[in-house]
C-alpha cells in the first residue's frame, strides 16, 4: 500500500500493463517523452521505448481510427484523448466503428482490446472546452462500456479491468481529482469489477447516486442531511454502461426515494436513463418523485462555474424537497 494521487494510480496501472503485456501500447497527443499534459504517462516512454508509448499527430479521429486498427490486429491499444471535450472529432470512429466492430462482422473481427482514456469534468476554470462531461453521448451507443472512477484506488483497479475487458471502453478520468484525490492504493496489480456499483454508505431514508468527481458532492450533502436526522444511502455507480441497475433498485426499494447527481447538463443526461429505469423497476416503492441534481442546460461557463455546478448545497436542498414531498 502507498499513499498516491489519482494520476499516479493511473500511471501505475499503465506501467503494470506495459510491463506484463508486450502487445500493449499507449499513445495520444503529448503522451510520449513529455508524459502527457497531466503527466498520466510519465516515464513510460523511458521505460518501454518509443514503440510502446508515443506521441501521435494532433488528430483525434486519427488517434481513435489508428487505435481501432491496432486493436483489430490484436494489440492492447490504450489511446488518450487530451480532454473529453475534444473527443467529438473521433465520435464517428467510436460510435460507428469501435462500438459496432464485433457486431457488424459477426465476430469475425473485434476491437475489444481498445481502451480510450480521457480527462473529463469541471472544477479547473476550464470553461466550455476543458470541462465537459460527455458520457451520455456514449451511453447511448450499444457496444461500448463507460467507466468513471472517483478515487485513486478505483482508478487503478477499474483501469486495469477496463484494459483487460474484451470490449471497447471509454474511461473518463475526473481531472479535478487528478492531484486532489489521494488515497491508499495497493502496489500490486488488482482489478475492480466493471458493471458493478458500490454502496459507500448505508442509509434508510433516501438514496443518492453519483459517479466520478460528483460523489464528493453527494457525500457532503449526506453529511448535512445527517445533521438534520436524515439517513442517506450513497451509491457510486462506477460503470455507466452497462450500469448496476439492480444495486440501485435494491436501495430505492428500501429507501423509497432517489436523487441522481451528475455534472453534465440535465436534458438527456444519463440521469434521465437512471430515473426512467428506476421508475419502471420501483414504481410501487417510490414515495416521492426522483430528483435530478445536474449541470444546467447551458454550455459549461467560466465566470459562473460555481453557480453551474450541482454542488452539495443544491443536493442538500433536493434531499429536503424529497423528504417533505
Amino acid at each position: 500500500m502507498s499513499k498516491i494521487n489519482l494520476l499516479q494510480a493511473i500511471n501505475q496501472a499503465l506501467d503494470s500493463t506495459l510491463a506484463q503485456n508486450d502487445l500493449a501500447i499507449c499513445f495520444g497527443e503529448d503522451v510520449g517523452h513529455f508524459g502527457g499534459v497531466f503527466r498520466a504517462t510519465s516515464h513510460l516512454q523511458e521505460k518501454y521505448g518509443k514503440q510502446r508509448c508515443f506521441n501521435t499527430p494532433l488528430t483525434e479521429q486519427g488517434i481513435i481510427g489508428f487505435a481501432n486498427g491496432a486493436a483489430a490486429q490484436g494489440m492492447t491499444a490504450i489511446a488518450e484523448i487530451q480532454f473529453a471535450d475534444y473527443i467529438f472529432p473521433a465520435f464517428d470512429q467510436i460510435v460507428n466503428e469501435s462500438a459496432k466492430f464485433r457486431y457488424r462482422s459477426g465476430n469475425e473481427f473485434n476491437v475489444g482490446s481498445l481502451t480510450i482514456r480521457t480527462p473529463y469534468g469541471g472544477g479547473i476554470n476550464g470553461a466550455h472546452y476543458h470541462s465537459q462531461s460527455p458520457e451520455a453521448y456514449f451511453t447511448h451507443t450499444p457496444g461500448l462500456k463507460i467507466v468513471v472512477p472517483r478515487n485513486p484506488y478505483q482508478a487503478k483497479g477499474l483501469l486495469l479491468a477496463s484494459i483487460r475487458d474484451p470490449n471497447p471502453i471509454i474511461f473518463f478520468e475526473p481531472k479535478k481529482l487528478y492531484r486532489a484525490s489521494v488515497g491508499e492504493v495497493p502496489d500490486e496489480d488488482y482489478e475492480l469489477p466493471l458493471g458493478k456499483g458500490e454502496v459507500l454508505r448505508e442509509g434508510t431514508d433516501i438514496t443518492l447516486v453519483a459517479w466520478g468527481a460528483q460523489v464528493e458532492a453527494i457525500e457532503k450533502a449526506a453529511d448535512m442531511a445527517a445533521e438534520q436526522g436524515i439517513s442517506c444511502e450513497l451509491i457510486d455507480l462506477r460503470t455507466l454502461l452497462p450500469w448496476d441497475r439492480d444495486l440501485l433498485a435494491l436501495s430505492v426499494k428500501k429507501t423509497g426515494r432517489l436523487i441522481i447527481n451528475h455534472e453534465a447538463p440535465k436534458t438527456s443526461g444519463f440521469g434521465a436513463e437512471i430515473a426512467a429505469a428506476i421508475q419502471e423497476e420501483c414504481f410501487l416503492y417510490l414515495e416521492s418523485p426522483i430528483i435530478r441534481v445536474t449541470g444546467l442546460d447551458t454550455p459549461f461557463p467560466l465566470a459562473l462555474e460555481k453557480e453551474y455546478m450541482p454542488d452539495a448545497l443544491k443536493t442538500f436542498e433536493a434531499i429536503k424537497a424529497s423528504m417533505t414531498f
Binding site: Y103, N167, P242
Partner: protein, 396 residues
Amino acid sequence: MTDKRKTDALIVHRPVFIDSSQLSIPTLRILKDDGTLYPDASLPDIDEALALKIYDTFLFIRALDERMLASQRQGRISFYMTETGEEAADIGSTAALTADDMIMAQYREQGALAFRGFSLDQFMNQIFSNELDLGKGRQMPIHYGSQALNYMTISSPLGTQIPQATGYAFALKTQNKPNCVICYFGEGAASEGDFHAALNMAGVFKVPVIFFCRNNGYAISTPAHEQFAGDGIASRGVGYGIKTLRVDGNDVLAVLKATQEARKMAVEQHEPVLIEAMTYRLGAHSSSDDPSGYRNKSEEETWRAKCPVLRFKLWLIAQGWWDEDKEEHHKQAHRTAIMGAMKKAEKIPAPTLEDLFSDVYDTPPWHLQEQYDALKAHIRKYPDAYPKTSWRLDHE
C-alpha cells in the same frame, strides 16, 4: 525545411508561390488498349497460373455483378453495388500481395475478396443475409468480411478504414511481421478527414501500408473536378512524405507491377505508399442510383472502349494462354454456378433471434438479456407477425 532540427533551408528574397502544376505526376502504363506492351515497359512478376487466376476472377466478378444487379431489379435482394470497369484495379493489386496481408476495403472491391478465395456460397449468404452469412445477416449486401482470408469486414462510413489501416500496419511493424495492409478507398472518400489523419500518421510512423485509391471520376453524382482542385489524390501523398505512384487502373499489368513494388517498399523498408489508380466507374454508383441524371452516354462509351478485362484478354491470347472457346466456357460456367448458388442461398433461413443480440459485446449484459427475453415473449404471443424467427423460437 520545416523540420526544426535542420537549418539549411533554401531562402529566397522575392515571393515565390508554388503551384501544383509544377509537380508532374506521370501515369504508369504497361499494356496498350490492343493488348500489346509498350516497348520500354517492364513486366510485373507474373506467370500463366497467376495471369489466368486474375482473368478468371475478372470473369467471375463480371458475371456476379451482372446477375446480382438483375436480382436487385427483380426485388430478390435489397441492394447491390457493381465494380464494373474497376476490376483491374482491385484484383490486380490484391494479386501482388501474400494471402496473409490484410485488406481493408471500401465496398467496391469484391474482386479482391474473390481473388482471395471467398466462395460463391459465401458471397450469396452475405448478399441474402441468411443464417450462414459470416456477418450473421446484420449488414447490408456487399459488406463482406472474412478473418480467414484477411479481409476486414466492410462498413458503410466512408474513409473510416483508412486510419485503421495505419494502426493495423503499425501493429504489424511492432511485431516484426513480414506483412503489409492494403487499404482501398475511392477519390470521394479521400476528401474525408480520416484520409488526412491516416496518411499523416502513416508518414510519421513509417508503417507498412499501401493506400490504394480508386479514382473512378465520380462519387455518386459528384464529378472529380467538384471533389478536388489539385492534381488528383496522388499529389497529396508527397505532402505527407509518402512514396506515391499513379497508375492506369484499367491496365492490370501496370497495377500489378506498381503494387508489387509498393509491397516491397512497405514490407522491407516500412515505407507507406500511396497508389492512385485512374479508372472509370462504368456502372451506376449502386442499385439505388441512375447515372443518366448526371453524366452522358458518350463519356461512358469512351471508357467502355478502355475495358480492363478486354485489354488483358488480348494480352492473354497473344501469350497463347487463352482463346474464345475457353472464354465462352468459363463465362457460362460462372453464370450457371451463380444461378445455382443464388437459388440455394435464397432458401437458407434468416439468422436466429439470438443473432440479433449476440456480439454487441463479447457476452450480453443484463439489459440486453432482458430485451432478448422480452422480445422472445412478444414473438411467442404474435408469431404470425414475425415469421422469420417465430417458427423456430422454441427449437433454439
